[in-house]
Structures are given as C-alpha cells and as structure tokens.
Subunit: 102 residues, 2 copies
C-alpha cells in the first residue's frame, strides 16, 4: 500500500486519474512521460493494493481510482497516531517513575 504510493510516477498516475477522471491506458500514457508498458506495470501494482480498479470496454481498459484503497490508508493513519499518543503517555509515566526512584 504505502510501497505503491512510494513511487513518484505512480503518484503522477493517480494524480492524473484524480484530475481527469477515469480513462484508458493509452490516454494515461499520453499524459505521463513514460512508456505505455510502464504505465501498465504501475497500474498492476496500484490495482494489487486496491488503489485502482479497471473495467474492460471493448479493447480499451478504463482505469479509475478506487476508494477502498484510500480508506485503508486513512484507517491506518487514524490508528497509527491514536496509538502513538497512548504510547507517548506511557513514556511520560515511565520517565516520571524513574525520576521518583532517584
């Protein structure tokens, strides 16, 4: 998931889909400065983690952003810093106990 978002080209692809809405692979390749096969490979990665979905329309494959992937990221984010705040509170408690022992 975050591995998929780690690549700049993939973010450009997502950004393009975000701005322009759903579109085909070739159209995408026309707007992103890499070859069409590269786009295909990136779309595969993005699809594997649920950030993108596609729908066959004749020979064309229309790709669109898939919400579930972004929701997953949001959940991870929420949980992450909820827990971080708890852990931080624990840390404060521990260091105060240490200070009491001196």
């Amino acid at each position: 998931m975050l591995d998929a978002l780690g690549d700049p080209t993939r973010r450009v692809i997502l950004e393009t889909l975000r701005r322009g809405g759903p579109c085909s692979v070739s159209t995408l390749a026309g707007q992103v400065p890499v070859s069409r096969p590269a786009i295909s490979q990136h779309l595969k990665v993005l699809g594997a983690v649920g950030l993108v979905r596609h729908e066959s329309r004749g020979t064309r494959n229309i790709y669109r952003i898939h919400r579930a992937g972004l929701d997953e990221l949001r959940d991870w984010l929420d949980q992450f810093w909820g827990d971080a705040l708890e852990a931080y509170a624990d840390h404060i408690r521990r260091t105060e106990e240490e200070r009491d022992e001196h």
Copy 2:
C-alpha cells in the same frame, strides 16, 4: 513525505517509536535489524519530512514521532479524494453528454 513512508525499514522505525514511545538511536538500532548508521540515515529522512523530531539529552538523541507530518498526510488524503469524487462526477457528466449526442 510518501517517499519517506515508502521504505519498509522506515515504517518499522516509526512503528517501533509508536509502540515504545520516544527513544534513543542505539535503543532503536537494538530493536530494528539494521545497523546503527542505517538508523541514523533513516531518521534523517524521516526528520526532513517532519515525521520525526529529536531532542538532545547529553550524548543521547531522543527521537519521537512528530504529529505535524502525519497531519500533513491526512490533509493530502482528504483533499485527494474530495477532488477525485468531483472529477468522477465531471466524468459521468461528460459521458452522458456524449451519449446524448448519438
């Protein structure tokens, strides 16, 4: 930002800081299976994008998760799919107009 989160080791470091609270570089190196210099380098990257902050305590450098970085990610996320939904609505509108022309 997302580049920083793209690396698995850096995510382990963040995860360790999340679970254990703030701690020193050496302590961190003891819990993550890479060398101490590697930890330093990763912390530098994480610090550069505001995901982590450090405070000098004698010779020790105590690192902690910094909330601002995570907030930034959340903002990006919110904006991203707000805009994606708009773009999608536009797309629907366009395709319906095309259908009308037939």
